[in-house]
Amino acid sequence: MRAIILLSMLFAGLLSHAVRAETVEVRLHYVGPTEGTVWLGLQQGLNEANLQGEFLGQKYTLEPISLADLESLQSVTAVLMATNAAQIMELAQLPQFAHVPVINIVADDDNLRAACLPNLLSIAASNKMKQDALAQWHVKHANSKAVAQGWHKSFEKFAASQLNIRFTKAHGVAMDDNAWAGWVAVKLLSDTVARIQTTDAAAMLSYLRNDIAFDGQKGDGATFRDTGQLRQLLLLVENDEIVAEAPLRGVKGGLDSLGLQSCK
């Protein structure tokens, strides 16, 4: 099944700073698989967004919508997509979404990054990022059969173990790449709403692109490249065990040694 997630924030405008603020309803429209780990990751992100919302005065809900219905909407604040690259590319270029954050959760196609669309943000690591991570690893481990992943159930550093524990406790399965990306997608948006105190799409897009330092529970505050790619470390996994983190130690460029660095 294909998934399209629409984040439709019905109440625009300033949110109150007060403790017992009037609760702002934030509707997240979702089209796609209501099973599998992307969905569970979205649910986890939603639960956590609502826990924060209880303190800060937001209530987030997730509601299904079809691609056709999404395209007919005009007043959209943010769009989450777990579809194929072609559908994401098409949707991101519709005029009514020009200033709306369009978030690609799982597609790893390099063309979505190379397109350098100003409103398209990708959570999953691109193909090229994974290839670069493996190339760094193969310098000293030529015959290794390792694969590059975004997440792993035994990852512990940077409070990854706490996220793994609470995800498994809630859903009974291990967090994987897609679950992590789904969790990130919702929390990026709730973090943005909490910090800028508005649900204006253009303001959110600007904050996401320029100001966010997101705690993805895998290291430094995560930011986006101008390609729209979320900067992140990758894990090299062999026989279901983490053998290294990329970028590997000593590699120049840090996180930007993985994947397409820039649109320039």
């Binding site: 956590e48 800060l56 505050g221």
Partner: protein, 317 residues
């Protein structure tokens, strides 16, 4: 004559025990060796190592400094140790995964339950859990205000400082701060609180009247991941541990300007300052050492080997 002397010394002993003459012992929780290292802070020598329980992290003293409390996270308990005799007096039920705590002037413990998104209040005299207060995800740092009226709790994964009224045991305010807030500290009169953010690499000042952030500063140290905060007795100087940067940042507590850095061990987390402010001790989680920093010299003058993954410190001085 001899009898008189004996009486006098007995009286002195009695009064000494009532006032808990300091032992000058520095206690260090070793997260991965399930122990507490006991250091004589006057000599810098390890006196003994106590087997304490599974995964010790938060550590602190009762208001009279006679009792040491250690959060043993994997046992969902707080270990209670007599400071003078070093005897393990018992273990208090502390709810799921207690990480760290602070002690109220009335003796109650306020602790964070990391995997359970709540703060728990325990009366250590009775062992009773008085209250459980819902907070954000991965609660971490806890600080009781000097007058005991408020408690602050950081939630690492919801990026907030929760302000709890200790009379009602209700959250009265939530302050959004930079990503992954961890350490907290009050100034002496409780007018200000400081909060460190590990992933945001930031420290902020909260005005406790308005409950707003009045100043914040990014820590200009390579690889810095801010953790524990201590303030000099005159409230002018702030000491901040920086995790992977393996340094203590010495900052102006008003302007948050970085004045100096001190090299300490690897992955420096916990910190404790002597009562007179002359010595700062840091727990270096990867080096398995405690650094002794002379705050006048702004230099580490000794590194003491302790257990595996030292986490926090408490000093009876």
């Amino acid at each position: 004559m001899k009898l008189k002397q004996l009486l006098l010394s007995t009286l002195l002993l009695a009064s000494a025990s009532a006032w808990a003459e300091p032992t000058y012992r520095l206690f260090v929780s070793n997260e991965k060796s399930n122990s507490v290292s006991v250091i004589d802070s006057r000599t810098g020598e390890v006196e003994t190592t106590l087997e304490i329980g599974d995964r010790p992290r938060g550590i602190g003293l009762s208001p009279d400094q006679k009792t040491l409390y250690v959060a043993i996270s994997a046992e969902n308990a707080i270990a209670v140790v007599d400071v003078a005799s070093l005897k393990l007096l018992g273990k208090l039920n502390a709810g799921d995964d207690p990480e760290t705590f602070d002690v109220h002037p009335n003796g109650n413990l306020y602790l964070s339950n990391e995997d359970d998104a709540k703060a728990t209040v325990i009366n250590p005299e009775t062992g009773e859990i008085i209250e459980e207060i819902k907070v954000g995800l991965e609660p971490e740092g806890v600080a009781v205000s000097p007058d005991g009226s408020m408690v602050l709790v950081t939630s690492e994964s919801t990026n907030m400082v929760h302000v709890i009224d200790t009379n009602a045991h209700k959250v009265v305010a939530n302050i959004l701060v930079a990503a992954r807030p961890r350490g907290l500290a009050f100034n002496t009169d409780g007018s200000r609180a400081y909060v460190s953010s590990e992933v945001g690499n930031e420290i902020a000042i909260i005005d406790m009247k308005t409950l707003k952030i009045t100043k914040k500063s990014v820590i200009d140290i390579d690889k810095s991941k801010p953790m524990a905060i201590r303030l000099s007795p005159d409230n002018k100087t702030l000491y901040l541990t920086t995790g992977r940067a393996a340094k203590v940042a010495i900052m102006d507590a008003d302007t948050l300007e970085l004045k100096a850095t001190v090299d300490v061990g690897k992955r420096v987390w916990g910190a404790e300052l002597s009562r007179d402010g002359s010595t700062l001790y840091t727990a270096n989680g990867v080096s398995n050492t405690v650094s002794v920093v002379d705050t006048a010299l702004q230099k580490s003058v000794k590194e003491i080997e302790v257990g595996n993954a030292p986490w926090g410190l408490a000093l009876d001085d």
